[in-house]
């Protein structure tokens, strides 16, 4: 067949049989792995394995940044920060895949010393070789031209930008302004300056930032989730235990799936909708391959 006639055929079939092409792309659509286990380290490993294993992302000698939520001076039971067990499992997987160094940090909202200790992160990563649990330092924020819809430029954290692999590890929880906070919003922890100011147009602003700082792997901690009074919580009555870990390379798809755990639809979350519209990933769960691990 000649090239021209092939193109004609494809073009025509695309015109008349949109559903056919859609199915075709769906087959190649993003994968979201969902693992459930009371052993949260095992759930984490299973979710990553279902995506093809950590060695798909981390090559020998890579510098890996793991970005959990360590924003609040809350303990692990209160579900305001990422589960330290999940973080440790990811760090171990990254090291096993050959990472030269794994750095773990977050720009916390409360006092960073208290957050790191109370979240259980300090204890979980203590004594691990080639692992740095470090505080965010102001001088490392670099102005990045975002040329986005809401932000033309912003200061982002250079260690996250320069990492060979950036692994985004949010905890799934309630948030009054955005309804939920998941992977897309977790990246706010890599923003410098007066980041609260982006709340006035947070949907587009988060899409802008996520466009500049891509998460190579998103692992959402839903081992226990905060269903109300987020993002800090504090009341154990607001905590629900799901024992789930969600992993994907598509941040929008991961967020979209996690949304359903709260009884919301992905289109209810305007942060997800904006990111999808901006081409950051798939929010239609029908087009996402969900793998239960």
């Amino acid at each position: 067949m000649q090239r021209r006639s092939f193109l004609k055929l494809v073009g025509l079939s695309a015109f008349f049989h949109q559903w056919l092409l859609r199915d075709l792309s769906a087959a190649q659509g993003p994968v979201v792995a969902v693992a459930e286990a009371k052993d949260h380290a095992r759930a984490t490993r299973a979710a990553i394995a279902a995506l093809g294993g950590m060695h798909r992302f981390v090559k020998k000698g890579d510098v890996v940044v793991v970005k959990p939520n360590i924003g609040w001076d809350r303990n692990p039971d209160q579900a305001a920060n990422t589960n330290p067990v999940v973080v440790r499992a990811i760090v171990e997987e990254a090291l096993a895949a050959g990472a030269k160094k794994v750095k773990v940090f977050d720009r916390s909202c409360n006092d960073e010393r208290r957050c790191y200790v109370n979240s259980g992160m300090t204890a979980a990563l203590k004594g691990m070789k080639n692992v740095e649990l470090k505080f965010v330092e102001n001088e490392r924020f670099k102005k990045v031209a975002l040329r986005g819809k809401a932000l033309s430029e912003w200061e982002l954290y250079d260690e996250a930008l320069h990492a060979d692999v950036f692994i985004n590890v949010p905890v799934a929880k309630h948030h009054q302004l955005t309804k939920l906070t998941l992977g897309l919003k977790n990246v706010m922890g890599m923003m410098g300056g007066n980041r609260g100011a982006i709340h006035k147009n947070i949907d587009e602003a988060l899409a802008d930032v996520n466009q500049a700082l891509k998460s190579h792997l998103v692992v959402i901690d839903a081992t226990r989730v905060l269903t109300a009074h987020g993002p800090q919580g504090g009341n154990l009555a607001d905590v629900k235990h799901l024992h789930k870990v969600i992993a994907s390379t598509d941040i929008v798809a991961a967020d979209a799936y996690a949304t359903t755990l709260f009884g919301h639809k992905p289109e209810d979350i305007s942060v997800t909708v904006a990111a999808h519209r901006r081409g950051l990933g798939e929010m239609n769960l029908k087009k996402v391959r969900i793998v239960k691990a």
Partner: protein, 522 residues
């Protein structure tokens, strides 16, 4: 330094202990600080005396001061020559400072004119002892000036290394972190009154130009008080006066022998005379209790003058500007302003230990009587929900040491929205960063959803925040994180009634049910 005497050894040990405790007065990974510089103030009889005079009540926190009193009655003014870190600093530098003649104006009764009015003013309930207390002067100079400057210098150096080396700086990180976690202040906080604090300390060093231990023998109110107590010590140095054949003691003694006789109330038992005596004559034998050769107070008019002076001194500091009162926020757990001022020694430890740099010394907000006392400045730092450190390090309990559950309920003030600034009201844009950060489990800041027309004519769903007074403890995180530049859209204001929040309010929603302005969390 010459041969080391036991006194010298003690001095250096106590100075070292003091510096270690000072550096430890900071969050270092534990919720509790077992030992801090406060122990120094707790064994300070001047602090105890003024506390007793002002509050007319006793606290077990000051038991160590009683021990000092008893020991001084027995042994004399050993405290100044063996323990006081300010005295040790003076001993360390005085050798390097050439002496001119003593200042005549400082001699005589000046020190009583300082001590007595301060104590009498405390009796009239204005406790100013901390302003002139030697530890207070030393700790404030270190807290407000020396430590922040060192911290800032180290931090700037570290930052410029980054500009120079980039990521390669990471190789040096372990060394820097060791310094940061053990020696440096964690935050670069700059304090008002830093200059005055260090100037007062500098002045004391400057006075060494005229004679050694000039501050100690002529001014220090603590030293003067200890001197009064030491009158009856059964241990009296012999010989009591300079020996006619030698007179070396005049040069050896750092504090006394101005008039050829040893003044009991100025002898700090440093033992330099014993060590330096060529004839081995100096002894400190147990001589039995006897009254000193001089009258207890030099003159009756000093006593009368001190009392009258103190009374009027107390009156002269009372003015308070009304504009500053609404923002006069005291640390958590402080219930009443008057009681607080009676107990606060203005040592600056709470400000040093404050995790988020929320506490600063008052300049004039609390009137002149409140200078150096701590105030919360929420725009610079807020009170961390789970932190109880300021109460732990307060030497006198002016800031009560509350368990964490109680501290969370302690009211610093109440947050109030300024709708002319707050974004959802003033600009019709969403924000509620304050709500996000509010640490109360049931949220003292909530929001109601309203649909409005924004300036461009679009319909917009706005979340308009409001404060639930029964839940607000005035921690100030809302004001601190408000993304508005300059003035915040929400501010914490002082309240007279600082009764702790009801325990029940923290776990259940108050007024649930029929409350108007429906609670979005129900």
């Amino acid at each position: 330094m010459k041969k080391i005497t036991v006194a010298r050894l003690f001095q250096l040990l106590f100075l070292l202990a003091f510096l270690v405790l000072f550096v430890r007065t900071e969050y270092r990974g534990s919720d509790t600080i077992s030992a801090a510089v406060n122990s120094l103030f707790r064994m300070d009889p001047l602090v105890a005396a003024s506390y007793l005079a002002a509050t007319r009540s006793f606290t077990w926190l000051l038991v160590p001061a009683l021990v000092t009193v008893v020991a001084t009655l027995l042994l004399g003014r050993f405290f100044c020559g063996w323990i006081c870190p300010l005295g040790t600093v003076l001993d360390l530098v005085t050798g390097k400072i050439a002496k001119t003649a003593p200042i005549r104006a400082l001699k005589g009764n000046l020190k009583y004119w300082l001590l007595l009015p301060v104590l009498v003013a405390a009796l009239v309930r204005i406790n100013l002892a901390g302003v002139l207390d030697p530890f207070g002067i030393l700790v404030r100079a270190l807290t407000f000036f020396v430590h922040p400057i060192i911290g800032d210098a180290a931090r700037s150096g570290w930052v410029s290394l980054y500009r120079l080396l980039g990521e390669r700086r990471d190789h040096l990180a372990p060394a820097y972190e060791l310094l940061r976690d053990n020696l440096l202040p964690f935050r670069e906080t700059f304090y008002p009154l830093a200059f005055i604090s260090v100037a007062l300390f500098g002045l004391i060093i400057f006075l060494e130009r005229y004679e050694s231990r000039n501050w100690c023998r002529n001014l220090c109110p603590l030293g003067t008080l200890l001197g009064l107590l030491s009158r009856y010590t059964p241990f009296k140095r012999t010989p009591a006066a300079l020996c006619s054949d030698c007179k070396a003691c005049r040069a050896l003694c750092p504090t006394s022998f101005d008039e050829g006789v040893l003044k009991q109330e100025e002898c700090i038992l440093c033992m330099e005379c014993q060590k330096g005596c060529r004839f081995d004559r100096v002894r400190f034998p147990l001589a039995g209790i006897s009254r000193g050769p001089t009258p207890y107070l030099p003159e009756r008019r000093v006593l009368l003058g001190g009392v009258v002076g103190g009374f009027f001194l107390a009156g002269s500091f009372r003015y308070r500007s009304p504009e500053s009162q609404p923002r006069l926020l005291r640390p958590p757990g402080v219930l009443g302003e008057d009681d607080f001022l009676k107990k606060c020694v203005r040592c600056g430890e709470c400000m040093k230990v404050c995790l988020k740099g929320a506490l600063y010394p008052a300049v004039a907000q609390a009137g002149l009587e409140g200078i150096f006392t701590p105030v919360v400045v929420p725009r610079l730092g807020y009170c961390e929900y789970n932190c109880t450190l300021c109460g732990q390090v307060c030497p006198t309990g002016a800031i009560p040491a509350l368990p964490v559950a109680q501290k969370k309920r302690a009211v610093i003030g109440k947050a109030v929205f300024d709708k002319n600034h707050c974004l959802p009201f003033a600009r019709k844009t969403n924000c509620i960063v304050c709500e996000e950060h509010c640490p109360m489990q049931q949220k003292a800041i909530r929001s109601e959803k309203v649909v409005e027309i924004d300036p461009s004519g679009k319909r917009i769903e706005l979340q308009k925040p409001y404060v639930v007074d029964e839940l607000c403890n005035g921690c100030g995180i809302c004001e601190n994180v408000c993304p508005l530049e300059g003035k915040a859209g929400i501010e914490v204001f002082a309240v007279k009634e600082r009764k702790p929040l009801a325990a029940a309010a923290l776990t259940q929603s108050p007024g649930s049910g029929a409350a108007p302005g429906a609670d979005p969390y129900q």
